[in-house]
Symmetry: C2
């Protein structure tokens, strides 16, 4: 009986240990990739930064790409959940769109590691496109239903929106943009979607809450997982 209990306890310990190793690998990969890019990152770099043996990597992930997919999925989900909370009480789809665009671009200032990671991963990983793309698509559809937006084609509008967000974050991270420029980018995109110029300017200039800074807090992280 005692040995059965002991066996169960050791199984739990082993499961916890496994979970913990997985989390360490994910965290280490996030740091290493943000610093040196996906191409230049090897599995050995990741296991070394996580301080685990290289062999144990394959107990958790099939490949580097598998880990990167998990990582991008988590980062986007976390950010998306935080955006959902921010716009929960906003009814105008054009305002919702502008807030989401602006907060995402501002991540280059609020959480440069996240932003670098998203910008660099964006080149190679489809998870990024699908996770972010689905959210933007949802906001676009609401705008179309309400008559706010009149794009003639949706997938290509998504490309412009995604490309603009990545380029704006990049410009800020590289120091090319002296200010985040998030409101100007949002204004351009609203005009592109058919919002009249004066209205686009007004909506894109509304004061932004600071709630997105929650992203960095453990409570928000826990809630989004």
């Amino acid at each position: 009986m005692a040995s059965q209990l002991e066996g169960a306890a050791s199984q739990t310990r082993a499961a916890r240990q496994k979970m913990w190793t997985r989390e360490r690998l994910i965290e280490a990969a996030r740091r290493v990739i943000a610093r040196q890019g996906i191409d230049a990152t090897t599995i050995a770099d990741i296991t070394s930064a996580a301080d685990v043996g290289i062999g144990s990597f394959y107990n958790h992930f099939k490949s580097k790409e598998d880990l990167v997919g998990t990582l991008v999925g988590q980062a986007i989900e976390l950010h998306g959940a935080s955006l959902d909370r921010l716009v929960a009480s906003v009814s105008d789809p054009a305002e919702v769109f502008a807030i989401c665009i602006r907060h995402t671009i501002r991540m280059a200032d609020h959480d440069p590691v996240w932003a670098w990671f998203t910008v660099r991963a964006g080149l190679y990983v489809r998870e990024l496109e699908s996770a972010l793309g689905e959210r933007v698509m949802r906001d676009l559809l609401r705008g179309i239903e309400s008559g706010r937006f009149t794009p003639r084609d949706m997938p290509s509008a998504l490309i412009v929106i995604g490309g603009a967000m990545v380029a704006a974050m990049q410009g800020r991270l590289l120091g090319v943009l002296g200010a985040p420029a998030d409101h100007l980018i949002a204004e351009h995109l609203l005009r592109m979607l058919g919002v009249p110029a004066d209205e686009a300017q007004r909506i894109a200039s509304l004061p932004l809450g600071e709630a997105v800074a929650e992203d960095a807090q453990p409570s928000a992280r826990g809630g989004a997982r």
Copy 2:
């Protein structure tokens, strides 16, 4: 006298040899970087692909970044010169803008190595931004002068335009886009700049010449250098 002539001839040979080595390094870097990205490319990869000794790299370039800057500058100049020829007889700035956007996006189909290189280099190299940015800025200014375009801010419009072009090429290179979508992207951007929706659709759908395929021909290359 004979030995003086011989000396001059050998100097010329040495200069030719040096030029030739430089060109080989540039060509090799273009191939290697398009395949594996800038981060993962080492100077040894480049000299090995060029079949020259690693030491001679530094007779020509200060660093990998120095070579990449040269490379991006050349690629953009070549493409820009080809665009200039294409639009030489087009008077409407909105048409000029649409043709340039569409041909650049189509490079993902016409010259995927160029397109990969531009997309990957875009993340790290300012030459790309300044060279492409200056041309787009010039087209934007013409559109504003003629009353065709009414953006409220220029630098942020450039970011949206650049980001959209890179994202569209990327989507095509990764196989996410089944068709080039260049006319739809141009239409969105024209609307963003203040061209009415029906007019934007008409301009972006005009038939495109195939002259850009010249890019790959030695005569066009020579002319642009």
